[in-house]
Amino acid sequence: MVKRMSKTARREAIEGFIFIMPWALGYLLFRLGPLLASLYLSVTNYDGSSTPQYVGLDNYQYLFAQDPRFVDSLRSTFQFVAGFLPLSLVIGLAIAVLMNQKVRGIMMFRGLYYLPSVTTGVAVALLWSFVFNKQFGILNAILDFFGIEKVGWLVDEDWVMVSFVLMALWGVGGTMIVYLAGLQAIPTELGESATIDGANSAQRFFYITLPMLTPTIFFNLVTGLIGAFQVFENAYIMTGGGPNYHTYFFGLNIYFTAFRTLQFGYASTIAWILFVIIASLTIFVMTTSRRWVYYASEK
């Protein structure tokens, strides 16, 4: 009996490995392998055609001590993350709470709010570059209506990050829909019994809804963090990193360094720094999550 059990178990294990094989191969070939390769490249000079030249920590030293573009990337990226992420988390939640009510036509609103987050890419970046156009853009026309002077949304160093945050917030529907799902998973009995106990709606929100929603907030925080650090397309299409490197995000820096100036070694150095930043922030958020994320169904 025991022998037969172990035989079926072994068979199942072998089948299991066969089924996950595509991913396992892909992991070695397209994830772990390249990750280690780029770690190696990050300590070399390599132009793509000759053999990589080992230079020790020179690249890292140059990056931290001398490269002005690294500072630009650091500033642009962190400014964007700091501007976009908190707003997206708060506004997304506020809209989701409104959307969670059972009123007529709410499905249509959900669709409309969600739509911008499925239209992405070059088309949308082009669209926004004309919305933000200083001379003929619709945004300045609306401001003009209220007597406000033209703003150089994409050409003014002080405004360009505001524009990127605004544009990113246009896609807040993506965050909203996840919150909405989280809200709908909260059992209604909790709110009802709290009402009987005399809790008002603000109390219900802060003492029931919000704690029950922490796993969803956590999810939005982590995915938002990872996504916001990797912006590329919009800056590539709309500003090319300008004005004066004020939107020279890490993605842009790595792309230009690797594929324009063909410094594959140094591009890998920058990429590894980005990876370390994302990984450490994600791990940091995950470790603190034990303190503030509440799982109702904790086993």
Binding site: E15, S38, L98, V131, A141, I177, I278
Partner: protein, 302 residues
């Protein structure tokens, strides 16, 4: 006397209070609903402004685009802008390239995610939880840290300027899609599987004849996600493709934009953008429910 009086009236007072509270609740509810509508409406209008601007611009003449105060609605709708696009750029070619990329990406994603998802959800093997965790950690691995080695690898095997570097990796699984399938498969009752085994089905048959036919919602969800991804992606085509005839629409639009740098042909550019977004918008509205369901699975169950 007073006691009897009070007892007699008590139910009436309670009733009156209840009616009063009910009326109060009703007004409150009305205010709340009104507030919801007004806020949502203002937000919706704000969100639709860019779309309005895109459509309006695409129907203008070059002169109307470059005028201040701006022209909200063009005096004459220039539908020919949409036709001109086909002459100005190889638009049909771009679209067909995008279709090939998206189709390849969808097939590859569905194959790998369903198979691997089944493995993680339904088969027990040593190290399963650890490997699943490893898979999830790849979600935070930035594309940027692997793109140079990817480029070198595909260059070495002579795949540059083909669709292979974009489509082939799809067959090796994407952590997000695998996660979706795994969550879905975990929800299918084990009794079904046991019954099938008793009837003599092997694992492969259980997967293909029981699980897959039951998985239409998740198949559709992943297919839509994959479509959006491969249809819109700029970075990989930008890195891997060189000849213009191989460009998908994302890269083609970028070419169109830079070809007239400084004096951008916004009307035709917007016409191109609208036509390239149209499949996404149509897909979204026809499968809204499914699509949102997919987001729900990822967001809530993690």
């Amino acid at each position: 006397m007073s006691v009897t009086h009070r007892t007699a009236d008590a139910p009436a007072i309670a009733r009156a209070k209840a009616v009063h509270r009910h009326a109060g609740m009703k007004t409150l509810r009305r205010i709340q609903v009104g507030f919801t509508y007004v806020t949502l409406l203002i937000g919706a209008i704000a969100l639709m402004v860019p779309f309005f601007w895109m459509v309006s611009t695409s129907l203008k003449t070059l002169d109307e685009v470059q005028s201040w105060p701006i022209v909200w609605i063009p005096s004459k709708l220039m539908w020919t802008n949409y036709i001109d696009v086909f002459d100005k750029i190889p638009f049909a070619r771009y679209i067909s390239n995008s279709v090939v990329l998206a189709a390849g990406g969808i097939v590859g994603s569905l194959f790998s995610a369903s198979v691997v998802g089944f493995g993680f959800a339904r088969l027990r093997f040593p190290g399963r939880n650890f490997l699943f965790f490893v898979m999830l950690t790849t979600l935070m691995l930035p594309t940027w840290v692997v793109i140079v080695p990817h480029f070198m690898m595909f260059n070495a095997i002579g795949w540059l300027d083909t669709f292979l570097p974009i489509i082939v990796p799809a067959f090796f699984g994407n952590a997000f899609f695998i996660f979706l399938f795994r969550q879905y498969f975990m929800g299918i009752p084990r009794e079904l599987e046991d019954a099938a085994r008793i009837d003599g089905c092997n694992t492969y048959q259980i997967f293909s004849q029981i699980f897959l036919p039951m998985s239409k919602p998740i198949i559709a969800t992943v297919a839509i996600f994959a479509f959006f991804y491969y249809w819109n992606d700029l970075l990989y085509p930008l890195v891997y493709l060189q000849s213009q005839l191989n460009f998908p629409i994302s890269l083609g639009m970028r070419m169109f934009q830079t070809a007239h740098w400084g004096d951008t042909d916004y009307p035709r550019l917007m016409a191109t953008a609208i036509m390239s977004l149209l499949p996404c918008v149509v897909l979204f509205f026809s499968f809204q429910r499914l699509y949102i369901q997919g987001v729900v699975i990822t967001g809530v169950e993690k």
